[in-house]
Symmetry: D4
């Protein structure tokens, strides 16, 4: 099936972070692809990728990068498909990649999620696709319910804790 979301990263070392996006899309049965691209090392490939994205049927691009993270912004400058940026903590706790991605100049937005927040990037992509897909919308609603269940389960566990320190 044709990919609707493309998850791109600079190297396989980013995979441990970025696969969280893949997992979410997989769970929601949204077809996606994984690509290795680097704003600095394969600029021509990036351009080819970005310019053909719409024609190829891609709807959303998720791009992760660390350090001076230019990949999400560079792709966003070459397409009008929404680009979701994932700052990866490679150095400086991720401050550098966060600012390199979120502080885009007027005209070229990147939808930025938190540092190492690939899971949220996957959910955000699904939310965008669900704007014209009722079935997916229903899945997302169910997913949101499941988050509550976790908290309820936690509450159960907390009830059983005893604090008999020294009384």
């Amino acid at each position: 099936m044709e990919a609707k979301v493309s998850i791109i990263m600079g190297s396989t070392s980013d995979l441990s972070v970025m696969e969280e996006a893949a997992k979410v899309l997989n769970d929601l049965q949204i077809p996606f692809e994984l690509n290795a691209l680097s704003a600095h090392r394969t600029p021509e490939e990036v351009e080819k990728f970005a310019k053909s994205a719409s024609e190829r049927g891609l709807k959303v691009i998720i791009a992760g990068a660390g350090m001076a993270a230019h990949l999400p912004g560079v792709i966003a400058s070459m397409t009008n498909i929404p680009v979701i940026g994932v700052p990866i903590n490679a150095t400086l706790e991720g401050w550098d990649s966060l600012l390199s991605i979120v502080q885009m100049p007027p005209g070229i937005p990147v939808a930025t999620v938190g540092i190492n927040g690939a899971r949220n990037a996957g959910i955000l992509a699904a939310q965008m696709l669900a704007l014209s897909d009722k079935e997916l919308q229903a899945k997302l609603n169910k997913f949101k319910e499941s988050l509550k269940e976790k908290v309820k389960k936690a509450n159960k566990e907390l009830e059983d804790i005893k604090f008999d320190y020294k009384v």
Copy 2:
């Protein structure tokens, strides 16, 4: 015409920042509404707003907030419509609002743009809507071309500058 995008903010003092989103949507002829809501001052209104958003036909929500900026995240927790967060520089140059918006925990994404980046929020909303609207996609492509024109014009101006300082 029914609003597709809702632009919300905590008070009219945020309007000077947030109206940039309104201007973009207006230029692209995307119907939108402006609302004053505060995560802290009108929590019930926020809940009512967020839960009826989808039924009311809203497709994207743009929420701006400053300081400990909870509005975008709180709304995102109550709907599956994509929420775009605009950190507003009210204190600490906007560091506080940026982190309060972008660093959302797993499960509840907020698509964050730069500090005071309401213009980019408007464009990002348009990109999401254009996923199922070819006409809008064409407008965005034209808009992207216009950005290049500005740079070309700048280039013209730079050509005429002379530097006859002391030779």
Copy 3:
């Protein structure tokens, strides 16, 4: 016995930090409860909790959260019981949670303690309760004395250290 303090957190993974508050309250024989609530995952539960807090006899709420930490502020917006916020270091050394909790806009205060400072949150809750509880005040005074003892003991240990490096 009816709880006077409620300690709330987003998940059981925060327990290792937040139990320091529970220990202090337990030591001071102040009845408390532990709850799992999340501003983003169980907003309705949070609302129900906050609005019934006063009626249920709660006097102080201690809320811990990490990342874009909205829980303390959201609860504070729904009750007039004092809310003590504990920023939890989950990412960025806690800078994000600190700013998300302490920088509340005018009208909705959160009494913020240091990053991972749950122990201080427990003491602060006790100080508030002691305003109308002489016995508790006496316990706190005794507790303060015990802090001095620790320093005196440290002083003893330091006296015995020898520095015969190379003379």
Copy 4:
């Protein structure tokens, strides 16, 4: 009438920030006093003040300070009355005073509000006093309602805005 809250600051230059606390207390008809004290310039006065606070009938202390802001913490070390700290932005946008106040070591809490957040300090003090004062609790509830009115009024104003930029 005997003061229940003491608002202290290092110099009259802090008054423009700290008077917001005084205004709130005045509006809520809570008796208070204003004092100039400095952790560094009048340590003996600080000690005398802190140690007699409880006997004098004070219930809450609000202390504002800028730069390496030691006043709130030093007072908190000498009394068991709750101390609310207000970081004042004198240098470094207030980063220095925020950290000097909020990051108290275990055992000596300071209830910290946002930078220049004296208004919130006043409200927090009122919330503490209201724990044993039903009338004050009612006033605070009314105050909370008034915050909503402001947002509603803002909403009215936003409805009237037109964006006829270029269509």
Copy 5:
């Protein structure tokens, strides 16, 4: 005469900062050109520029940019001519542009100068050119001497200051 250095920037609004580089080159009689290019708005132009730079006889590129500043890094990825990056303070005091430029990943260096440090960028470009230009080296040595003269003159001025405050 053929330009040896190209000074590029995203818009004419950066000119007030970047012209300091132009002035230095002009003073040292090094032929240069000024260009408006944007990593995000004219990516094709950037590519064309970078790939033909060497053939056109350019020896050094000075690129200034603010916010999420991708221009210097993107150009550096497309040429082996040294690229000097000038972080421009447009937002966040320049923290965002500094990190977006200096923290380049391994393989693609950008020679970064200080925030708004275009003057130093011009001098650095001259130092690179002087590696194979003795005459220019002599000019730079003379320039370095002139810096000392300024300090000597300052010293003269300081000698005349009197401090007769209250003795």
Copy 6:
């Protein structure tokens, strides 16, 4: 009279900050000199200055610098006279100069005061000189008393403030 303290700075533009040190020394009748020296522009002069400092009878050196502030550390590396460093806020609110001065590697201390804290630098120099000068010690004690007087005066002023806002 022979100078005991040397106040050095990189240019006369730093004088408005550094003259606060001069004023304190003048008030305490400690002989001092003012010098313009720059770690980067007159390295030989700096060396000559530092190495002859002790012989010339100097007891303390106060060095102010902004940006990448190397002057205090470089001087400290060339003499065993105590060097007091004053970070000057020229860029980045002074974060750069603070870290460039205070974070000296092991073996070469610089006694750092706060950003733009030249007045404290002057007092600190006086405290060092007073270690072997009883008369100066007495003056400093008197100076410390005068700080208290200011706070007492402030207290007087605060007593007269009325808050009749709306009761």
Copy 7:
């Protein structure tokens, strides 16, 4: 022999950092004492210590503290003996303690060294004492020479390194 330098810290857990100061003083045969004092836990002891310091023959005080580090500043407010502050990295990489110590308000200086820089604190204390002690001055000069020896030795080691990677 009577101590000339007092090294104080809040608890024995700071000893691993602060003993570097003790080692330096020991090596230079400067009599010193170690004390446990806490600005927050033993304020009366701190006062007693600070006020008697001069009479007891102390010449310099070295105070280390972490988090909201008030100890050095509080002592400096009670004596005119020079106080050297050592920010200890307990939380936030030491940013909190650095700012809490170095950013002292006008009138009360603390001579701050780098984070965990106790060794430099010891050397700085020795430099102050050497102002009236020629023998100590000679020892410090010798110590400075020994720093150079280390670098020369390092240079030797570097000479022997071979880089035969793949040629």
Copy 8:
């Protein structure tokens, strides 16, 4: 063969970072030398080194330093050979060394690379040398191609990943 690049560092403990520069130069067959020099510990050696650099045939200097990192700037003040600065992460994640190196005042540039970015420093030095060395330019172009190969290989690996989590 005579060294064209000198790699200098403060101690052998910096070697693990700085040897990345050496490796690149070695791979590109550019003659280089390794030196231990410290701005603070061997100022005379630094001066001798910097002033003879040009005569000795050095074309580029790469200087690495941590903490308050003065070495690159101090050398740059004494020569007109381009100086590349490598901030080393010794404390504060490298924030201190980055700012101490990159924020040089006008007149004395240091070409700064990222924190621990010695590999990029080596490449940048090669780019400068290649300005007058066609053979080296060819090697660099080949090197740039090899970066692309890595990304292509990564892409291959990503193609084989399966995500069969729970469908």
